[in-house]
């Protein structure tokens, strides 16, 4: 059976069109991808490399392999006899950041869920208004929002004056420059991140299911817990990650509201590039932060694919 040396003309033109489309696609996509890969992915790889180098005396690095940065993370090297002693100082900063981020995420969920639910059950017109109201603060400068919060809650701030004036407290509440202050700052900063995905999930919810549950004698809060919440789970996970990840690496809130005492990971990394000038250690701290974030994202991806599987079934 002789095979045709050239494909039929129709197939050829089809083929040429497909090639043209491929070329057009590559041409359109490559600039954005190149910029992101060149100016973000490559720098991230460099950070990983830097974390295994030796710090230079005045910042920068010396190109000599060393795991000292990671060792330094857990141990303190004795200056005299070069022995290693376990030192939890840096672990504590990571632990504190983790707890702060966790508390902020939980608080955002506790405030955000009722809010998102309420907005999702409003009539169409009002719904849009409220979504806009929640969205706008997200776009307002993070620095300015934190300054506004600091202005309000500091010892001599309007909040304390109002409380003192009303006779509710005898001495100004010390909120600013404490862990609580940082927590409030984080919640304030990232609350819209929680509300919006929750809203998106609840908005799609079929409220006939609530009626069905009620007909089966489920009580109100049981319905919320066993019907609405499980179906809103993708939104809960997305919102939690959107709050947790940036909270973990937050810089501005702990810097301004923590008053430099309540360091978080973000400040620790920043310090290595500004103050104490240990680039490899700063890089190692960043790599560890990125690893935690990656793990969180993996959880998210797995959860999403599980949800998709459930939908298919």
């Amino acid at each position: 059976m002789p095979s045709p040396a050239t494909p039929p003309p129709r197939a050829a033109s089809e083929h040429a069109r497909a090639r043209r489309r491929l070329k057009a696609r590559a041409l359109l996509l490559s600039p954005a991808l190149l910029v992101i890969c060149g100016l973000l992915v490559l720098p991230l790889c460099i950070i990983v490399v830097y974390s295994f180098l030796t710090p230079g005396t005045y910042g920068g690095v010396v190109w000599r392999f060393s795991t000292e940065s990671y060792v330094q993370f857990l141990f303190e090297r004795d200056l005299f006899d070069d022995t290693l002693a376990f030192s939890p100082a840096y672990l504590q900063i990571y632990w504190r950041s983790f707890i702060q981020a966790l508390v902020a995420t939980t608080a955002c969920f506790l405030i955000g869920f009722p809010t998102a639910y309420y907005i999702a059950t409003l009539p169409e017109r009002k719904k849009y208004m409220w979504v806009l109201l929640i969205t706008v603060p997200y776009w307002i400068n993070l620095l300015i929002r934190t300054i506004a919060m600091l202005f309000l809650i500091r010892n001599e701030g309007p909040l304390n004056h109002a409380l003192l004036f009303a006779g509710l407290v005898d001495a100004p509440l010390k909120i600013a420059y404490t862990n609580i202050g940082v927590g409030i700052g984080l919640i304030y900063t990232y609350l819209p991140f929680m509300v919006l995905p929750l809203y998106a999930a609840i908005e799609r919810f079929d409220f006939r299911l609530v009626e069905a549950a009620s007909d089966l004698y489920a009580r109100r809060w049981t319905i919320l817990r066993r019907v609405i919440l499980p179906l809103a789970m993708p939104g809960v996970v997305a919102g939690s990650l959107l709050v947790f990840i940036p909270s973990l690496g937050a810089f501005i809130a702990p810097d301004l509201l923590g008053g430099g005492k309540n360091l978080m990971i973000g400040n620790l990394i920043a310090l290595q590039f500004q103050g104490s000038r240990n680039w490899p250690f700063g890089s190692a701290a960043a790599v560890i932060l990125m690893t935690i974030v990656l793990c969180a994202l993996l959880v998210y991806v797995r959860q999403q694919s599980k949800a998709r599987l459930r939908q298919l079934r």
Binding site: R25, A26, L28, L29, P31, A32, L33, V35, I36, L39, L40, V41, P43, I46, I47, I111, P114, T115, Y118, I119, L132, I134, V136, P137, W139, I140, N141, L142, L143, I144, R145, I147, A148, L150, F151, L152, R154, E156, P158, Y188, L191, V195, F207, V210, E211, L224, I245, P246, G249, F251, I252, L256, G266, A270, F273, W279, S283, A286, L289, M290
Partner: protein, 269 residues
């Protein structure tokens, strides 16, 4: 009496109150800072009368003037570049529904959103120093462009999703080649999305502090950097005034961009 009961079922006691509290929490501090920026005197307990004194003082501050100018130039450059790149990428990703690396491409475009900002900041710094790009306005523009791409991409791709393919097909049937179909049919329809994307990118660049802080180098200052510098020396009504102005710019831009992005094509749908 079925309807009222089912309506009641959806409502939970206290949820409305939480929502209003949430609103107060989100806007309260901003309103307070705006209010005090108009206070004649420095005190925060006494109202000394309405005055634009602090605004005048802020406008005459040379550092603030210079950094505002820098901020605007940087935001304009970064947003333009990011919007161009994002538009091209969106055209490729949305118009060609199925191709092998599609998900990966979308993932890369959104990558700047997933990396903690502080990590992006130091990675950019290390990269610029290593490659030998001088730190200054140029390096800020480059770093901002990367960070702005996903923000510009979002409304553009959403808009493009809403435009059915048959508009271009119709243009093709009327003997328009693909370039003219794009220029005269698709682009005008896509324009609101592109504008919305540009505005979001502009705001993101204008507002950025962390990345800018690291890649700015000693010479170049932007408005957020200047404000941060001022805050370090103590909260003044002058800061309140600048913050209120910047806040207003953000609010106006976001509302405009939301309105632009909302309209579906064809209009009135």
């Amino acid at each position: 009496m079925k309807p009222p009961r089912s309506r009641d079922l959806k409502r939970y006691p206290g949820f409305g109150a939480v929502t209003w509290a949430c609103l107060v929490f989100l806007y309260g501090p901003l309103l307070v800072i705006a209010l005090y920026s108009f206070n004649e005197i420095r005190s925060i307990t006494v109202w000394g009368g309405f005055s634009l004194h602090w605004y005048a003082k802020a406008f005459n501050n040379e550092l603030i003037q210079r950094s505002t100018w820098n901020s605007l130039v940087i935001a304009l450059c970064a947003a333009s570049m990011a919007t161009t790149l994002a538009t091209a990428a969106a055209l490729a990703v949305i118009r060609h529904r199925r191709f092998r690396a599609r998900e990966t491409c979308i993932g890369i475009i959104n990558l700047p959103l997933m990396v903690p900002e502080i990590v992006t900041a130091i990675a950019s710094l290390v990269f610029f120093v290593l490659v030998g790009i001088p730190l200054g306005v140029g390096s800020i523009v480059l770093a901002h462009t990367v960070f702005c791409i996903p923000f510009a991409y979002l409304p553009i791709s959403a808009r493009l999703e809403g435009i059915e393919g048959y508009y271009e097909e119709a243009a093709g049937d009327l003997y328009a080649d693909s370039r003219r179909a794009f220029r005269h049919v698709l682009l005008p329809m896509l324009m609101p999305g592109v504008l919305a994307g540009f505005m979001l990118a502009f705001i993101i660049s204008l507002d950025d502090f962390i990345i800018t802080n690291f890649v700015a180098g000693p010479g170049a200052s932007t408005l957020p950097l200047a404000i941060y510098g001022l805050v370090r020396t103590g909260l003044t009504p002058e800061i309140n005034a600048v913050s209120t102005l910047l806040l207003l710019v953000s609010v106006i831009f976001v509302i405009l961009s939301c309105l632009l992005g909302r309209k579906r094509y064809p209009a009135g749908h």
